[in-house]
């Protein structure tokens, strides 16, 4: 197993990650059920790549992202991360190792407006993490902060300003710089541009790409917008109701999707016509079922335009395609088609 990871140069390997939120009710806060926000997800992230994560609102993208940076503790599963040349489970580290791991994995959040503490200036927002992670010299820290701000195309003297003096785009760039201040290897970007104006989205995305190239960063890039993900990612995982339903390289997924859900998502974005074939627009009907009480069988069958009898009773397993082992799908149709 490890050998396989070595061969693929895997940085982070998620194994059967589950995150259930208890639903509590009544005066005694009895647990009456669980929101299965992430339900048995297995993925790996290769060093230096960008893994895109797409899905509708509420499908568990943020939850999965927060499990990776350990803001949430998964209900079960393993997070294996490559330290030097050894893989360690992030969920069973001791205190010191844990702090070290926090330096390696950082996150950029969805809402740039709540990501910065309104009463602390930028300098303070950067200074404390630096201090914790071993920058003991105050002058060095200040130089580092200036350097970071400049690397996201902001002026160094902005560091004494307060968050309310910045625009959304500037804030998000500051957040990116903050995430990078401890020299992380992996950054989970949770819809970093969805709160921004379309005109500045491209600017921020390009900045992120440049930084990645320059510093050899690995990204887990979350979005609900397939075109943004497609632009950013090397590989894309499509999530539906807490499960990954399809995973393939970005290029392949775009034309050789297998899962009807991916098809529906893709059909919603306008694409330049190549080869003359016009893609049919598929409108997903009905609401996303509640993650507290997901449908039996394939979770997508209630809204699937290709649903069959077997889908209602039997959940498809997440398996590689015959002709392309790097392309994985959880759909009865896909497996049978290739079988």
């Amino acid at each position: 197993m490890n050998n396989q990871n070595e061969a693929r140069d895997v940085l982070l390997d998620l194994k059967n990650i589950k995150k259930y939120y208890p639903i509590q009710a009544g005066i005694f806060r009895k647990t009456v059920g669980h929101v299965k926000a992430v339900d048995d997800v297995s993925l790996y992230v290769k060093k230096g790549e960008t893994l895109g994560l797409v899905g509708e609102s509420g499908c568990g993208k943020t939850t999965l992202g927060k499990c990776i940076v350990r803001l949430h503790r998964p209900t079960s599963g393993e997070l294996r991360y490559k330290f030097g040349n050894k893989y360690r489970n992030l969920l069973s580290l001791n205190k010191k190792e844990s702090l070290d791991a926090r330096k390696k994995i950082q996150m950029v959040f969805q809402d740039p407006y709540s990501s910065l503490n309104p009463v602390k200036n930028i300098f303070t927002a950067f200074d404390e993490p630096l201090k914790i992670h071993g920058w003991s010299n105050a002058d060095e820290r200040k130089d580092r902060i200036a350097e970071l701000l400049e690397s996201v195309n902001l002026r160094a003297d902005y560091m004494y300003r307060y968050p309310n003096e910045f625009s959304g785009g500037q804030r998000q760039r500051i957040c990116i710089a903050r995430a990078m201040c401890v020299n992380p290897e992996l950054i989970v970007c949770d819809e970093p541009v969805s709160a921004l104006d379309v005109s500045i989205q491209a600017q921020v995305l390009n900045l992120m790409k440049d930084l990645q190239k320059e510093l050899g960063l690995t990204y887990v890039f979350i979005a609900h917008d397939l075109s943004v993900v497609e632009y950013m990612s090397d590989r894309i995982a499509v999530m539906y109701l807490g499960k990954v339903v399809e995973l393939a390289s970005a290029k392949r997924l775009y034309y050789h999707f297998e899962h009807p859900y991916t098809e529906a998502l893709l059909s919603a974005i306008p694409i330049p016509k190549i080869g003359g074939e016009k893609r049919q627009r598929i409108v997903l009907e009905g609401d996303v079922p509640s993650p507290a009480n997901p449908p039996a069988g394939c979770r997508f069958h209630t809204r699937c335009h290709k649903s069959m009898d077997i889908c209602k009773t039997q959940a498809p397993t997440f398996r590689p395609l015959k002709n392309d082992p790097d392309h994985m799908v959880a759909c009865h149709l896909a497996d049978t088609a290739d079988a």
Partner: protein
Amino acid sequence: MATALVTKQKRIKKSSLAKRNLQKLLNNKLAVLGLFIVVTMILLCIAAPLLTPYDPGKISLFERDSAPGGEHIFGTDKLGRDVFARILYGGRISILIGLSGALGGMILGVVIGSLCGFFGGILDAIFVKVAELVSIVPQLLLVLILSTIIGPGVPNLIYVFIFTGWVATFRLVRGRFFSLREESFVEACRAFGIGSLSIAFKHILPNCLGPVAVQLTLNTAGFILQEAALSFLGLGVPTGVPTWGNIMNAAKEIITITESPWLWIPTGVAIALFVLGVNFFGDGLRDVLDPSQL
């Protein structure tokens, strides 16, 4: 190069948030007026020995109940004590009780509120109930029960005020914590491995301090009024100690109300003026710190 630039900028911009708020506060006429009233009155009380030659406790049976004018600006009381001196020296104690009760209550409320708001759970549930209980029993009665248990006296009254005064601050801080702890900047802190207590007190708490300061002014005003009411009834500070409430105590009798108004009108005005100043200042503070304008 960047560093040179930064060092230069540092001096100019370092405390801009506090400075800007202070500037706004100073532009608010009512707040400045309030501050002026409060500070002036506190200074007058502190400087009492310079302003009046009389000892507030010295009984002088020859000058009983004399009307204002002449040697005694506000006249003398039934025991011949100088009313002006009593108001000045009494102000010291009344203000001390109000301020320290409010400050103590604030500290208690901030600490408990932060911990409950940040960690939630059983601790939180317990304190919410306790707060509800403390706030539902009329404060005056609570003070009565407590002073039967611990006895009268200035420090005891302060303890009682602290015990009853933390609730408002607690509610406020707890509520702000509940909403702030979900903010992404808190998660960013956690992602860096910053400890829980540090997040609660160094990162979230500063966001609550505006409303806490406003609450502090409200409590100060409230406690000064309560001390006055309690001592007026003869239940607060022992009668020997001059406080604004104790001076007003004389006005329990109709004869004093009609015949010796100098005994109670100046004192009542002093209380109202001080509390008015505190309230003006608090109102101004609230306007300045309005989070929508932050």
